[in-house]
């Protein structure tokens, strides 16, 4: 089990030929009535082409802020984001986002949802339907093309959202806890589906998650973040064989990775819990 410290990993990632997504020294502060809060503090990392990187951390570590910064949904931050050598600001066609919340359009059928980015890009109807069918098949939803999201389960709806993002053919797939609202079994099975897709498309993927097993099951590397302010605590290389499936969760090596990352996270999660308790007490003291 190879473990690299953040310093050594970042030195390696700094090689320009290795980096596809570059997150460079990002700092994001939010103004609150109690003063400024630093959500993300000097976070730097890179993602290599075709790599699956997971960012893991306790609640309040700035994971979602980082997701929104990389996706271009929030601005007013220090540092910069680069994709394939190009600095990006704001939403960018190179980056496809999959959200934590249910994000399918309920008024569109599955195929209309998946064809949405192609429709926006002005692709002719026959062509976009054909391409949408391909991505629907890729996420294993063939036969459901004309169903509406309300007729599907939560897991199926999330697969529609993934297919919709993949249909825009992004260079980087950016996912924010896409399986957070699903049960554990569905989560493992969808993990298999994501692994299969990533294998097939060689899709560079950045997954934001708080789920350790999900991160170990899917990733090549895991970036562990500290509790507020969110900093890079450690980057862990996952040397589990590929192609992987959910069967790997029963292996001894998998268990060791989970234990190691939990060891890193426990301290951060405890800090978060104590912080929440202190804030609740403080709020209770207010008249």
């Amino acid at each position: 089990m190879a473990v690299a410290t953040s310093a050594t990993r970042l030195a390696e990632d700094a090689k320009p030929d290795a980096a596809f997504l570059v997150v460079d020294d990002i700092v994001k502060r939010f103004e609150t009535p109690d003063g400024a809060i630093t959500a993300v503090d000097h976070v730097s990392f890179t993602v290599r082409p075709g790599e699956f990187l997971a960012v893991i951390g306790p609640s309040g570590c700035g994971k979602s802020t980082l997701f929104n910064i990389i996706g271009g949904l929030i601005d007013g931050y220090e540092g910069q984001i680069g994709v394939a050598g190009e600095r990006v600001a704001g939403p960018h066609a190179s980056i496809g986002m999959v959200f934590q919340e249910e994000s399918t359009f309920p008024w569109r059928t599955v195929i209309e949802n998946v064809a949405f980015p192609l429709e926006i890009a002005g692709v002719k109807k026959a062509n976009r339907i054909e391409r949408a069918r391909h991505f629907i098949a890729l996420v294993g939803l063939s036969g459901f093309e004309n169903r509406y999201p309300t007729e599907l389960s939560g897991g199926m709806r999330q697969r529609v959202a993934i297919a919709r993002t993949l249909a825009s053919e992004p260079k980087i797939l950016l996912m924010d806890e896409p399986f957070a609202s699903l049960d554990e079994q569905t989560r493992l099975l969808l993990g298999d589906k994501v692994l299969q897709i990533q294998q097939e498309l060689k899709q560079t993927t950045l997954l934001i998650t708080h789920n350790i097993t999900e991160a170990v099951q899917l990733s090549d590397r895991i970036l562990v973040m500290t509790y507020r302010p969110g900093r890079v605590k450690r980057i862990v290389e996952i040397n589990l064989p590929r192609p992987r499936s959910s069967d790997i969760v029963s292996s001894e090596a998998f268990g060791r990775y989970v234990a190691q990352i939990w060891g890193d996270l426990r301290e951060e999660a405890s800090r978060g819990m104590h912080d929440d308790e202190a804030r609740a007490l403080h709020a209770g003291d207010r008249p």
């Binding site: 996706g71 271009g72 949904l73 939403p91 960018h92 066609a93 980056i95 496809g96 986002m97 959200f99 919340e101 249910e102 994000s103 359009f105 309920p106 008024w107 949405f116 980015p117 429709e119 926006i120 509406y148 309300t150 993002t165 825009s168």
Partner: protein, 257 residues
């Protein structure tokens, strides 16, 4: 309980139950009037109302009046849809306008605007236009407020999906905001149409002009109670037509919620 649930799944059973309940209600009213519990000089017997339909249709030009009331309500309905949705969009876009106007538009929604009919008579004369404008003013506030509510209530994640695909403001509105707000907008339209229809018939009644409202006034003044109630049934028919049209348009615009 299981058999009741199974019956509920058959498409004709709820309709049959609804129609059956109405028939039972009419029958009960008929009996209560016949035995003297309800005064027959205030409420006519349903059987008398049923028999007066032929007379009202043949002698009172009911179809002409029905067409006129329907046209007035349809015109006012089209106006509340176009103007109300447009103003709702404007208030959504311009926050200052929203802050300035939302409260008094809400106040206007509950105001008895029908009392302004003398003013409208002065402006538009004793014509169908007065009735249309009265219906329009009464039905406008709920459409504005519900359009605003629907657009503001669009889930943040759907807007973020649009932003992630780099949608422009027009695309964002046409492809995401408007379809997402449509169910709430239609709630406003239904409410608006109710207020519009009440005001159209009410003003016809008050100014003794036009379609079914005027007929109800005439028949009531002649103390033709069965005829009056028969004419009211035609007003209900106008309402039914409106709701069928609204539902069809909503289904066409948004097949599934």
């Amino acid at each position: 309980m299981t058999s009741a649930a199974a019956l509920g799944r058959r498409p004709f059973v709820p309709a049959l139950l609804g129609f059956g309940s109405l028939l039972i209600f009419i029958l009960v009213v008929e009996i209560l009037i016949r035995v003297g519990v309800i005064n027959r000089y205030i409420v006519p017997m349903p059987s008398q109302i049923a028999m007066s339909f032929g007379r009202v249709i043949s002698e009172e030009d009911i179809f002409g009046r029905f067409r006129l009331t329907f046209f007035e309500a349809l015109s006012a309905g089209a106006l509340i849809a176009v103007v109300g949705i447009s103003i709702g969009i404007l208030l959504y876009r311009v926050n200052l306008l929203r802050l300035a106007c939302e409260t008094w538009i809400a106040a206007l929604a509950s105001a008895p605007s029908v009392l302004m009919y003398p003013l409208f008579l002065v402006i538009f004369g004793r014509s169908a236009l007065t009735i249309i404008m009265m219906g329009f003013v009464a039905g406008l506030p709920p459409v504005i407020l519900k359009t605003l509510e629907g657009l503001s209530g669009t889930r943040r994640v759907l807007i973020n999906v649009g932003r992630s695909f780099k949608l422009g403001p027009t695309q964002m509105f046409v492809k995401i905001l408007f379809p997402a707000a449509l169910p709430t907008i239609f709630v406003g339209l239904r409410l608006g149409l109710i207020f519009t229809l009440i005001n159209v018939v009410g003003v016809e009644f008050l100014i003794n002009f036009g379609g079914l409202g005027q007929l109800i006034n005439d028949l009531a003044e002649r103390y033709d109670l069965p005829g009056t109630y028969a004419a009211i049934c035609f007003v209900i028919l106008v309402s039914v037509f409106f709701f069928i049209i609204t539902e069809r348009v909503e289904r066409w615009l948004r097949p599934v919620d």
